[in-house]
């Protein structure tokens, strides 16, 4: 293995980090919704696919990547609000498996609607002109678009962190995640908070889907793949833990990228193997609290 240079490994790690950023965004949306509403959104992957298709459609219509990047979260947020208000809200207070089952069914509907509207075949989509090409980092080159994805993800995560930790609304979100009952008693309309959090979660899922489009292509079935990846990452990182989702997401991105280079056959299985080990060694996940594994 002497001919495997340091540069090659570094390149795979960078590629993995870019992929990991997508994982992180998807898992973040899922974790946000779970932490606040106590709902595991099984339609999350389908929303991600929907975001990708809406983005590609908007790009075809406007020809501008940046406008599409704004359209996606807006449309997805509206879709998320509709879902929370009319489908999930009537189920609060019932057993936790009801919202789970409902969103599972919703995932079917969304993916099939995508098939009806855009066809069953994938749509090719390439990075916008401004982000095409490669950048030279030392003695190897790296696609510019992937660097953009990493930067964009970092900005979004910082924005999200500031929003949750530093704003009055974020305070309500944090308090609501700990004890929604008390927040309600204090005179805050939690149903509005939940509506917005669900919308935020789906908007992030949509952005993740659109950002992933030039890297991974756009097919209706991506809804399933993405959902499973997000689940594996939340289990590894620790359910309900945002830092856990970020660390596990980046880690899995690197692991998948390196495995697909050295042993391509195992790249789709390696994540599950790591999840199995985590479940045996530390069932609450890397950063999860033991009692959180409900």
């Amino acid at each position: 293995m002497a001919d495997i240079s340091f540069g090659l490994i570094a390149l795979q790690v960078l590629t993995g980090l870019a992929l990991g950023c997508i994982f992180v965004l998807v898992a973040t949306g899922l974790t946000l919704i779970f932490g606040m509403l106590n709902v595991v959104n099984f339609a999350h992957g389908a929303f991600c696919a929907a975001g990708a298709y809406i983005g590609v459609f908007a790009f075809g219509y406007t020809g501008n990547f940046w406008i599409s990047l704004v359209v996606v979260p807006v449309v997805m947020a509206v879709l998320g609000m509709f879902t929370e208000r009319y489908l999930l809200r009537p189920l609060y207070g019932r057993d936790m498996s009801y919202p789970l089952l409902l969103t599972f069914g919703l995932g079917y509907v969304v993916i099939e609607l995508i098939r009806i509207l855009f066809g069953t075949d994938g749509i090719p989509f390439s990075a916008p002109a401004a982000l095409k090409g490669s950048m030279f980092l030392g003695d190897f080159s790296f696609p510019r678009y992937r660097l953009f994805v990493m930067g964009f993800t970092a900005v979004m995560l910082v924005g999200l962190w500031l929003f949750i930790e530093k704003t009055p609304f974020g305070l309500i979100v944090r308090a609501g995640a700990r004890d929604a009952e008390i927040v309600k008693v204090l005179g805050i309309d939690t149903s509005k908070v939940w509506l917005l959090i669900f919308a935020l979660g789906t908007a992030i899922a949509g952005i993740a889907g659109f950002l992933a489009a030039p890297m991974r292509g756009v097919i209706p079935e991506m809804g399933v793949t993405v959902l499973i990846e997000a689940f594996v990452i939340t289990v590894i990182g620790g359910m309900g833990s945002l830092p856990g989702a970020i660390i596990a997401g980046l880690l899995m991105g690197v692991v998948v990228s390196i495995t697909s280079y050295f042993a391509a056959d195992f790249s789709s299985i390696v994540m599950f193997a790591i999840m199995a080990v985590i479940l045996i060694v530390r069932p609450q996940g890397l950063l999860g609290r033991p009692e959180a594994a409900r």
Binding site: V40, L102, F231, F272
Partner: protein, 329 residues
């Protein structure tokens, strides 16, 4: 509440109750009798065979979901393991039908033992996430292991044309004969299923569903009980999968896909979870709807998803569950 508890709780002596009571007492015979007339009533026997197989699959799933209270979204893995185990035994190893079915059940037991052991380390919604992920992992493994499984194009050549049961020759190319031959397996499985539910173990898993802490306080190891429930569930689902492989003569990779898990959840919900008849009622309704819907749309998944949503939202007890609630109160 199950039929048994509901019936035991009500002491009025109305005629419907007496009927309900005697059906409950002889529930295996009742289900088998209904199944026995099914192919005569239905427009074509292929639909009846599907109801038989998927009813058994949903029954196995119901042991875990309806009776133990664990929602698995990875039961495609157990059904698929049964199908591939049986299919590989026939197509690659050239075993006879009965040994092949045993191979299918054995592989399903193995897969459920592993998935179960990992999944019971989590609870609640995690359980659904982990089972879904692990089942998808099995899908990837079988997808890539082309030399054994046929990969994307499926496992071909699972053909059994006839079977000799002593003096009796069953022609498996004749759908009616195939149906009643399969019904033998299903009847035996249902008798076993009913026996499990009436055993002390059956009482314990229902106790876990109702109140985990109380079950633990009563001195039961929840992990062991849940794991056993998962593995037993795997045996029934594996048998269903094995029969499906023989029925179709091919095992497609879709068998292991997550939509198969979704289908069995839908059937159980539609029929009524935690009831003995529910899974068969749900399977029959689901397959009949699919049959009708596929006449006017190619987008059955859309209809299935909408039914799913409507079921959860407005009709959580399912058809048979609601019937029970009405007659028995």
């Amino acid at each position: 509440m199950t039929e048994a508890v509901q019936i035991a709780n009500s002491h009025s002596g109305s005629a419907t109750l007496a009927v309900a009571h005697s059906i409950e007492k002889h529930r295996v015979a009742a289900v088998v009798m209904v199944l026995a007339i099914l192919p005569v009533v239905l427009p074509y026997p292929a639909l009846a065979i599907n109801i038989l197989i998927f009813g058994l699959f949903a029954t196995g799933f119901n042991l875990l979901f309806g009776y133990t209270g664990l929602l698995s979204l990875g039961h495609a893995a157990l059904f698929g393991a049964g199908a591939y185990g049986c299919g590989i035994a026939i197509a690659k190893l050239g075993l006879d039908l009965f040994s092949a079915v045993l191979c299918g059940v054995a592989l399903a037991l193995l897969v459920s033992a592993v998935i179960g052991a990992l999944a019971i380390r989590t609870r609640g919604v995690y359980f659904g996430m982990v089972t879904l992920a692990l089942a998808q992992c099995l899908y990837f493994i079988f997808y890539q292991w082309v030399s054994v499984t046929g990969g994307e194009s499926g496992l071909r050549g699972v053909s059994v044309k006839r079977i000799d049961l002593g003096p009796l020759h069953v022609d498996l190319l004749n759908p009616m004969q195939k149906y009643y031959f399969f019904l033998l397996f299903v009847a035996v499985a249902l008798a076993g299923f009913s026996r499990i539910l009436r055993s002390p173990f059956g009482a314990v898993i229902e106790g876990i569903r109702e109140n985990e802490n109380r079950a633990r306080a009563s001195g039961y190891s929840l992990d062991v009980m849940k794991w056993m429930s998962f593995v037993l569930s795997g045996a029934f689902c594996g048998l269903a999968g094995a029969l499906n492989a023989i029925h179709l003569g091919i095992v497609s990779i879709e068998t292991l896909f997550y939509t198969t898990s979704g289908t069995v959840v839908m059937m159980t919900l539609l029929g009524g979870m935690g009831t003995f008849f529910g899974p068969f009622v749900g399977a029959a309704l689901f397959l009949a709807l699919e049959d009708v819907a596929s006449n006017w749309t190619t987008h059955w998944q859309l209809v299935a998803g909408l039914i799913f949503i409507a079921c959860v939202r407005f009709f959580p007890k399912g058809v048979w569950g609601s019937v029970l609630a009405r007659t028995v109160g």
